[in-house]
Symmetry: D3
Subunit: 282 residues, 6 copies
């Protein structure tokens, strides 16, 4: 998400929360409406992501609120870390608090969960991939948080490379689809094919048109191991991905098989937010 | 979220996913690009929400794809329920699949978690409330899903009523703020005050200007019980809310105290999606 | 209206007026296109509102035009007051003149009319309320001007509290609707009911579920007086509002009855602009 | 305002009014949520404008609400005329009522005031012109209503023709500006010059480069008469406009001078709305 | 195009190019991600237009990238001119390069072609006019570039003056349309009529209601000469325009006939871009 | 460009052209404002692209104008072909004519030029690729037209695959960049490297990390031939692209070398429109 569209999203969210109509904050006497300090901290440990969020808030509130932070993308923050310090009119800080926390809670939550997967597979070098299973309107922001956490991105969109899946194979054979993919692809598009069982895998391996990546969908760790051996023998440069309901428990066994990638939908569709709070410094 | 802004959000999301540039779907021969049927089903049980999503997809794809569904807001769907049937060109269905599932997974996930809280407090009549801790851009959609699940809404925005919180009380006394609130409120705005301990509660109860609602923040269930007795005696028409890190385990004890409301941030900031899938009918 | 959406509205309006294509201003030789001063003044006395407008113009024209003003929201300005001084390239000032005046004429016009109502009811403490009868696209800006003038806001939108009106009562009894309202309301939503005659008022007063506010619609001042007595006796904490075609002549008699609120649609649907002009200082 | 941008404005306005969150309408039992009829009528006589508004509402609510009307742009409607009949779900009609009336009240108000000016100058053939003194965001809609009322449009924007005004003349002579205007104008742009006294008028009349139109600003009716004679003698094809604080009383005397145009800012900056209401047919 | 809408267009274009997701630029080690210099130069001679583009980039990248330029609108730039110097983080420059060049290539291309037409008609004083045949979304930017090149603008839109064309004349006679035009025009709207042969021209010349401009469409240079003589004799103040497939070869003969305007669609619908490049200074 | 964003672009363009304020079309008497037929035809031969444009116009004008066409994407149209027939109110057709033609002229122009390149390389199987050198706001529409003409797309954006260019190599060696690219790439991203001379090519061929595609930039046809031999020998599966100022004359010699791709910026940055016209059928 570039700075310009993130700025629009934050402005819209401030509007949604009626940022300028804080009927409670307005109770405070204007005589006291002088500059105060507040800070955002995390009530549980995790991984920070959200520099672009902070930069955008800073730009939007230039001349009104000063945002200062030391954290950078991907650093671990133990519980109670002072993430960002805000200096500005008390009523403005009260009015933007919830919107700011809603953004940072999301980005830190995604980064923290991604890091947890990375820790779970150590010391194996498998890459943890985010998928297109993202929340509406938040794909770019979530994928950026995955990267902060140490994960990588599978595809950003349907135009980002060829991924032949079960639903395509149901309509045409693996061999036919791979051949077409080779003819149709853009110069910079890779070709990946998803297989759901060994029959399908064998079809792929027998094809004169090889994929760049093979995805083993819902294979047990043991079956992955068998498949890896088959693939490495036949297509030594082909990369291998596992997918399908992978969680923090099951990911390690997959990593141990020597595959290149594990894709994890949970990183972006079901990551809990990191618990953050804003306190005034009185 | 009214139909018009939901439509914009869905269009943006289709654009983000490069709906019109599905380089994989385009491999399928156009001769086979005839009308097929597919259906969305849930791989785990839950509660449905998303009629407005379906209606909007139907409007956007009028003349191209036919969406049919029997489910209605808030119905329970056991695992494997056929939620919606799609009839349209195969390539169009392949291209919209992920966007549709991302929306419905979100709305059903929120509704399902809300229902779980309602079930956890049965047969007590306490209301489960969603908060302003929503995901950026998704507040209206999430709150609608909370309602489908049986929950209610605390505040939609900062302009939606007066809620005096810890950060305000740190700056002025409860009594002073309640007096100002009575002078400043719009005719239709209620007044609520959050207390974090019994001292603060006693300040509130001693005020000549009473709140309409008192929120007990991070009180143990036992302290809630004590507080309820104090409040009911002094302010019999005042309604009572509990809040603060409430989960599916702790909610029941709170409900048993006879309070009116429990607010639960998790409903909207950390609800996992409901696991949905789209299959073609061949 | 927060600063971000106001900025968008002003940008759109400059576009509508083809700000960058001033074919007349472009006649002036570029050699003379140096910095000049101009000021906005009012040709009739009134009340100023529009600081947010000026701040937004200043932000939009940062580095090009300097806006300076001493006025603040709600101050009275006698005819001929220099409201704002502009310093910038002559052609830019000529091109933005009409747009700036169209905004300030609107905001000052609304504030001035509101103040006139407040003056008309002095020394009575009745509140003057703006309604949802606002001009398309301008609700937030107009309501802000009402507040500058000293008025308050009844409801910002349909979600801002429960107001049972004639059209609802035609479909269900007052008693039934009040009961439902108590069950359905959000914790911070007040309940108001509109009555059009004494029969309806008596229904309300007999209901076991009391409203927070009763609106007397199109009651004569004398009938308001009678109604106030009835209500105060039966529901001493209930607040009372009068509405319906209230003008600067009729408002005083209503105020004398001791009611809490008078709502006035004219403040926002038919306020004439304040007559402003921009002059160059040569 | 074309249908597409009007549609966006109406959608935004429904959003502002939280059309989908009518907490009062939602009290009505869904069992009764069947189709009903309602109609909009005017409580005072006037001139109708708003067909494009009705067409857009019809498009936005296709399949939900049926809008039927007999009125056409510019027809006179005596008090109590049934302007439009709505058929649809009761709750939808309740929720859109205010937004619909806010639009139609505005358009009918502008058309009615314009017609009043036309009636005031009968039987003289002078044209009544709207100016660029319009309300933010509403120029196109207001100008369309002026046309419905029988008025014409002076300029839509700064790019719509050359109008040399007092502020330009303060910087360069009339003669110099007229010469430049002839060199700079687009083929389809006319040239008008505003004069504020007879000296300035004589400068214009002595210029070798003639304007297409001369605007007499703040001239008394008598002075207009004198000026007309001067202009007609020297520049027989030049058209003549009067402007400056023209009201319903003063417009007739101006019309009698035989000028071509009178421009009236009030048509668009201060027209009161036409008083409209929506009633259910039970 | 004013600065605000140009800013939006540039932001959209950066988004389209996934400015924040430059997967190649991201290969460069962040340790080297320090500030560098680059410059844009032209690989072929032409005319510069694009100051507003540069100003907008500067505003969008304030605090990140510094843009410096000496060129001004309409100056001739020989091949290899350093047009603008950029100073900023290397990865940012790499990521914005293509978007910046796409804008400047367009504006310089249009300005250069316009200048070529002006050179072709020297020393004749005929004006070269751009038409409404512009590229979608780019009209304002293209017309501004035409002006930089020395051309003028015929009409910006359908509301910008009356131009009676062949398709109108097919439906009503020239005389009837000219009469209506005189009655209907706004005070600042000129009237032009297109004729396609001498019969039509004679109809126009015989009309009691004269046009301000006559357009000779697809007349040979010789026929233009004949027509000019006829028009000058009958309507000495009427201006004359030629149009229809005018190219750099044919324009001179038209100019020699003494007409006022030649309109050239190619300026805006088919101008090749000026070949620009960005180089790093290492 | 999906149907939703294309619809927005067309609406914006109609607004820009003041579609609803056609002051000339409005001269025609409303009594004659009945339904007529018109058709769009091409004045020169070419290749059609624009079905999505027509579909979107049809959707926008549903109920007002009927668009009928037989052409499909990519068909050749000889001069004078009736491309689309419009049936609707005369004034509406007059008002939309220019906008419709501006869109179709663009899309057909791009498709026609692309086809010309394809014809120029026959019977060689080299693919003709469009680049990111597109016009602001029009990338998706232009790329779709390239596909209609028979071309392919190199990259849609910076996130669409890794393309190491001259500016990167100036900062790090080919070998180092290729190694990093292998580590960083998403599973579906290919790796391409641009070389500008044989030294650079040899560096690439000596790298242990091979690219998927090598781009020969500004190589003569003869040098391309030499390079192809070197590459085929060393990296038999590597695909080869030529680029750099390719025109209709030079493309054939490149094709004969047996390379896979030629990329042509002119397809999208400098394609002249196809000359189209709209005529009424009287």
């Amino acid at each position: 998400m570039n700075a310009f569209s993130l700025s629009q999203l934050i402005q819209d969210e401030l509007e949604t929360d009626q940022f300028s109509q804080d009927v409670t904050g307005n109770l405070l006497p204007s005589a006291q409406n002088n500059v105060v300090q507040a800070f955002v901290f995390n009530k549980e440990s995790g991984v920070f992501s959200g520099v672009s969020v902070l930069e955008t808030f800073q730009t939007l509130f230039t001349g009104q609120v000063d945002f200062r932070w030391e954290v950078s993308e991907g650093v671990e923050i133990s519980s109670g870390t002072q993430i960002v310090e805000l200096t500005g009119p008390r009523n403005t800080l009260l009015a933007l608090e919830r919107t700011l926390l809603n953004f940072l809670g999301l980005t830190c939550g995604v980064a923290s969960l991604t890091r947890a997967y990375l820790n779970a597979v150590k010391p194996h070098s498998v890459q943890i991939l985010a998928t297109r299973k993202t929340l509406p309107g938040l794909r770019a922001l979530q994928l950026s948080a995955v990267q902060a956490g140490g994960g990588k991105i599978h595809r950003r969109s349907l135009s980002d490379g060829i991924l032949i899946k079960e639903n395509h194979i149901a309509l045409e054979s693996e061999v036919a689809l791979l051949q077409k993919a080779h003819g149709a692809r853009s110069p910079l598009h890779g070709i990946e094919i998803e297989v759901q069982n060994f029959d399908s895998l064998n079809n792929v391996l027998s094809s004169p048109y090889s994929p760049d990546v093979i995805m083993l969908d819902n294979f047990s760790a043991k079956d992955v191991q068998t498949a890896v051996a088959l693939i490495r023998q036949k297509l030594p440069t082909c990369r291998i991905e596992a997918s399908g309901g992978v969680d923090l428990q099951s990911v390690r066994a997959l990593a141990e098989t020597g595959i290149d990638y594990v894709s994890v939908g949970k990183l972006t569709h079901s990551a809990p937010v990191l618990n953050l709070s804003l306190d005034f410094r009185l």
